[in-house]
């Protein structure tokens, strides 16, 4: 394998891995704050993609410009999901928790099929298109913009969690729910916030993907599986861990797919999940 091909696949893996990281940051945030795995996370991404697609198809607004709107929209969806469903099962058994987010997943997919048909759709000729040539290497501009956008969004979340008072309150809620409540932190509002931000992360990732990835009702299925792998690898609840794990998973997927065949890449990534949870259950940077 020549150096060019190696670099090309490696960097392509990093670019898509940054998007995986952003999806996983949302998932790990929800998990960290309230110990619930959101099986409907891929559907937040799907809704973000559809929001971008329709704004482009109906009003010719480019996904890159409507991104803030998509983020706000998905924040509202996430907060609404918390208030209507999750709030009621926060003390329920793990089985009830798993199944309520599973129910949301099925419901959102059904609604998307019903409202927007099961067809594959795509955003064509957006401002973000074409390729960029760097010497012997070539990258799609949409992929580069998506990678850069994902870094920006992840950094923003990191800054919010580590450098603001509300973020500190959120981290405190994650560390110890009861203690946080005793300190006067409105934990219910923190949970709503976690779901809002978590959904917004997936929504932004969806918007970034929409310029180069087909939009369809089941699009979230593979992304949520990959996000589980990233979250496990990074350590459940760790945002920094999710960021680096996302890049690793992206590289494993693209380089592995190149070496053993792209049709096997999902199996490879899922195998990585099994290896991680069995050999290093706390992940790379997780709390033990």
């Amino acid at each position: 394998m020549s150096v060019e091909i190696l670099l090309q696949t490696l960097l392509s893996g990093v670019l898509i891995g940054l998007v995986y990281a952003l999806v996983a940051v949302g998932l790990t945030l929800i998990f960290g704050v309230m110990d619930i795995v959101n099986f409907a996370h891929g559907e937040f991404l799907m809704l973000g993609m559809y929001a971008s697609f329709w704004l482009f198809a109906l009003y010719a607004l480019d996904p890159i410009f409507t991104l803030p709107f998509t983020a706000l929209l998905l924040f509202a969806v996430g907060a609404a999901v918390y208030q209507t469903v999750i709030r009621r099962i926060i003390h329920a058994s793990m089985l009830a928790q798993i199944f309520s987010t599973f129910g949301l997943m099925v419901l959102f997919r059904g609604l998307a099929q019903f409202l927007w048909k099961p067809d594959f759709r795509s955003v064509e000729n957006s401002l973000v298109s074409g390729t960029v040539t760097l010497g012997a290497l070539q990258f799609g501009l949409p992929q580069i913009v998506a990678g850069a956008g994902a870094i920006g969004a992840t950094l923003f979340i990191w800054w919010f969690l580590n450098r603001t008072r509300v973020g500190a309150a959120l981290e405190a809620t994650a560390a110890d729910r009861e203690a946080a409540q005793l300190m006067g932190i409105p934990t219910q509002r923190m949970f709503t916030l976690a779901w809002g931000i978590g959904a917004a992360c997936a929504g932004v990732a969806g918007a970034l993907l929409s310029t180069f990835y087909p939009v369809f009702p089941e699009v979230g299925a593979n992304f949520v599986l990959i996000a589980f792998v990233v979250v496990a690898l990074g350590g459940f609840g760790s945002v920094t861990g999710a960021f680096f794990a996302g890049i690793i998973v992206g590289v494993v997927e693209v380089v592995g797919g190149f070496l053993i065949g792209p049709q096997l890449k999902l199996a490879l990534v899922l195998f990585l999940y099994l290896l991680v949870v069995l050999l290093r259950p706390q992940g790379l940077l997780g709390r033990a």
């Binding site: 199944f99 997919r109 949870v277």
Partner: protein, 327 residues
């Protein structure tokens, strides 16, 4: 007191006689589907309900059952009846190999691991040319009859085979429920630390649960292959199938003997009704209904229909509803 009539026998007699009343072939087919999904639900419940190990990967066992008997038939002309036992055995060995490391994992981690295993298996089968890859396998044409496990003129024999398999599975679940295994499984589910501290080997009993559950699920896979006479990874190994299998229990009542049967009846009815009213599953209406039902059950009736009825009955009797241990 009036001498009690065993309700099992009443249900059994009704089930045996049902095809005499229901003569329309498409209605009979509906009954077969209910029996088949009920059987899978009861089998899932042994691991997911009694032992509390939630699996979203049971399609792997189902697919192994379907593929083993079908490949034995195509390659070596082995009778599907033997194939059914062979498929169950292969699924059991696979389950033990997977379960041994994965039972270390708790809760979500285990559930996600089961999805990962089943998805990996589906990817492998989709790309494995000697087992038909994505194209799938068609079963060879054969003289119909009980020996060949093929019935063309009337689908009724499938009904009785499905019923027999369901009864066998229910009896297995009932035997486990009432034996020392049932106590151990409940202990593993509700108080794993306490069980461990009194010397119960958690992994060993989880392995027992997954062995029985996977064997019976694989048997259901062989029945499916013989009834449809065609299998491919998308129809016998998909995660959506795993979810459907788990759903029957969740809906009916996790850890209750007949919960999955009731759940399967409700789910299959929803599927058929939406298909007839809205035509096909591509419109998403079946998914919307599914999703809403799962949500309502998970949020308001975490112990399923059976748990809901029990709590209701207790309230009527003027007692506090049970705290709902899942039984």
């Amino acid at each position: 007191m009036i001498k009690r009539i065993n309700p099992f026998l009443v249900v059994f007699a009704a089930a045996c006689a049902a095809p005499l009343v229901v003569t329309n072939p498409s209605h009979q087919n509906f009954l077969i589907l209910v029996m088949m999904s009920a059987q899978l639900g009861v089998a899932w419940n042994i691991l997911g309900g009694y032992a509390g190990q939630v699996s979203f990967g049971h399609a792997a066992f189902f697919g192994i059952g379907a593929y083993t008997s079908t490949l034995l038939l195509i390659q070596f002309g082995v009778s599907p009846w033997i194939g059914m036992v062979a498929g169950g055995t292969v699924a059991m060995i696979f389950a033990l190999l997977i379960g041994w490391p994965c039972f270390k994992l708790k809760g979500h981690y285990f559930a996600i691991a089961t999805i990962a295993v089943a998805e990996i298996l589906q990817v492998v089968f989709t790309n494995w040319t000697s087992v038909g890859s994505a194209v799938g396998l068609s079963l060879p044409m054969q003289q119909e009859g009980l020996k060949a496990f093929v019935f063309n003129a009337s689908k009724l024999p499938y009904y009785y085979i499905a019923l027999g398999l369901l009864i066998g599975t229910v009896l297995a679940a009932r035997t486990i429920e009432r034996s020392f295994l049932g106590h151990y499984f409940r202990a593993i589910k509700d108080e794993p630390e306490a069980a461990r501290s009194v010397g119960v080997n958690l992994t060993r009993y989880k392995l027992v649960a997954i062995s029985v559950s996977s064997f019976l699920t694989a048997a259901g896979g062989t029945l499916y292959a013989q009834k449809e006479l065609f299998i491919d990874p998308a129809s016998v190994m998909a995660t959506s199938l795993s979810v459907k299998i788990a759903l029957a229990s969740i809906l009916g009542g996790v850890g209750s003997l007949f919960g999955p049967v009731i759940g399967a009846g409700i789910l299959t009815s929803i599927e058929e009704v939406t298909r007839q009213i809205f035509g096909g599953s591509g419109r998403g209406t079946d998914l919307i209904l599914y999703g809403l039902i799962i949500l309502v059950v998970a949020v308001y009736y975490p112990n399923g229909v059976v748990g809901g009825i029990k709590a209701w009955g207790e309230r009527l009797a003027g007692r506090e509803p049970g705290s709902g241990s899942g039984r």
